[in-house]
Amino acid sequence: MLNKRVIPTLLLDNTGLVKGRNFKKHKYVGDPVNAVKIFNDKEVDELAILDITATNENRRPNFDLIKNIASQAFMPFAYGGGLRELSDIEMLFKIGVEKAILNTAAVKDLSLVTAASEIVGQQSIVVSIDYKKTLFGGKKVFTHSGKNNSKLDPIEYALRVQDAGAGEIIVNSIDHEGTLKGYDYDLIHELATKLDIPVIASGGAGSLNDFKQAVDLGASAVAAGDMFTFHGKHKAVLITYPKYAELENLFKGQNNE
């Protein structure tokens, strides 16, 4: 897998982990600190935790919980949700998080991306772009956990995000999220071709083949939620992660060496 990262994305609702489909119908799936411990034992490449209700509930990030999670995360750990100011981002780094994920705040004001990347380093600032197809007018970027249409075009916006100084971009298809039917490959390919910074594919992964396809099309990393948290058709909660050898084999020839 070397260099091609496989990233479990955990969704947080202030204190508990949740999972849904197309950004809706979230149900409780477990305790975050415990889940991180399990992912730690499974030697995951990287972990992303997103508090999906912080911005909509006008809440600050739950720094106490994030600190607890970070103390168990002996892998690269990215946090997003409710980050509004530079001081929020500095606080994250103080408590042991190495990447800050900006979404709604970046759409509002890209200068936050620039200021943050100057302080904590470009590689530590990730911008997450949620988008979906609209009835007229094609794919548009949505903020506030998929609630508000910003009317921005995802590709044009991603290029501006790169210029603003982001270190990487997570591109998340709301239409594919939680469906296990595969990523939105067209957009991933277009983005990876147009951007110089790493693109992380997110939304819809259901199998290792989906990872491979995204990487073959230029994604530098792949993120998945359901695939690592649910098992079977009744979606029983079970945390899994592929073995290193399995991923190494999957990405053979893609190792940048």
């Binding site: 070397l2 780094f93 042991g96 190495e98 302080i119 270190g167």
Partner: protein, 205 residues
């Protein structure tokens, strides 16, 4: 006490978590007395080279730390940018580095190879230790560590204790006397990182 030097930049929180994990007492400090009485010093670092060197100078700790490390030979570990700062200069900035180890820091340059890789180099890579350095546990078949960087060190092979591949082979771990440093993030490299910190602790204690 293992002291993580606090000079206003760096991933001190995650290194502190790692020290706790391997069971040694650690703290993040800029207190001269604590630095003086420490068992070992750890220099973290993220962000830009000039910004970090400037902050290090502004902290007023440089004289004291150089005495502890270069004169008193206190065990020292630099991590990521905390490794790059130990050298003479960097492509990334105009200010001089600390110059504790001769060498310089270059940006990844893929002009001579056909595939253009993305910079920064971000992800896990296998690290090889040409001289089986004591920093790397010999019980692992291979060593994998997490990297995030756009620049890498170029120095005399006699200081090199680890290399990795990204487009070409580059230096990712060095040692000079009591000074060890890694380009990768052992504090974020689960079992491989935990073991590296254990090895460092064994070297110190």
């Amino acid at each position: 006490m293992f002291v993580i030097i606090d000079y206003g930049t760096g991933n001190s929180g995650s290194i502190l978590n790692m020290l706790r994990k391997v069971g040694v007492e650690g703290c993040v400090s800029n207190d001269p007395e604590i630095i003086k009485s420490s068992k070992a010093l750890i220099l973290p670092g993220v962000g830009a080279f000039d910004n970090a060197i400037k902050k290090f100078d502004d902290s007023g700790l440089r004289g004291l730390i150089e005495e502890e490390v270069l004169v008193n030979k206190k065990p020292f570990l630099g991590v990521c940018l905390g490794m790059q700062l130990l050298f003479d200069r960097s492509d990334e900035g105009v200010l001089n580095g600390l110059g504790w180890i001769p060498g310089s820091v270059k940006r990844f340059n893929f002009d001579d190879i056909s595939t253009k890789l993305k910079v920064p180099h971000m992800g896990w890579s296998i690290v090889k230790s040409p001289n089986n350095s004591e920093l790397f546990f010999d019980g692992f078949e291979e060593h994998r560590f997490y990297f995030v960087h756009s620049y890498h060190v170029v120095c005399d092979p006699k200081y090199v204790i680890g290399t990795a591949q990204y487009g070409y082979e580059f230096v990712c771990a060095v040692r000079k006397d009591n000074i060890w440093a890694t380009q990768f993030h052992p504090e974020k490299s689960h079992k491989f990182g935990i073991q590296l910190f254990k090895q460092f602790v064994n070297l110190v204690c």
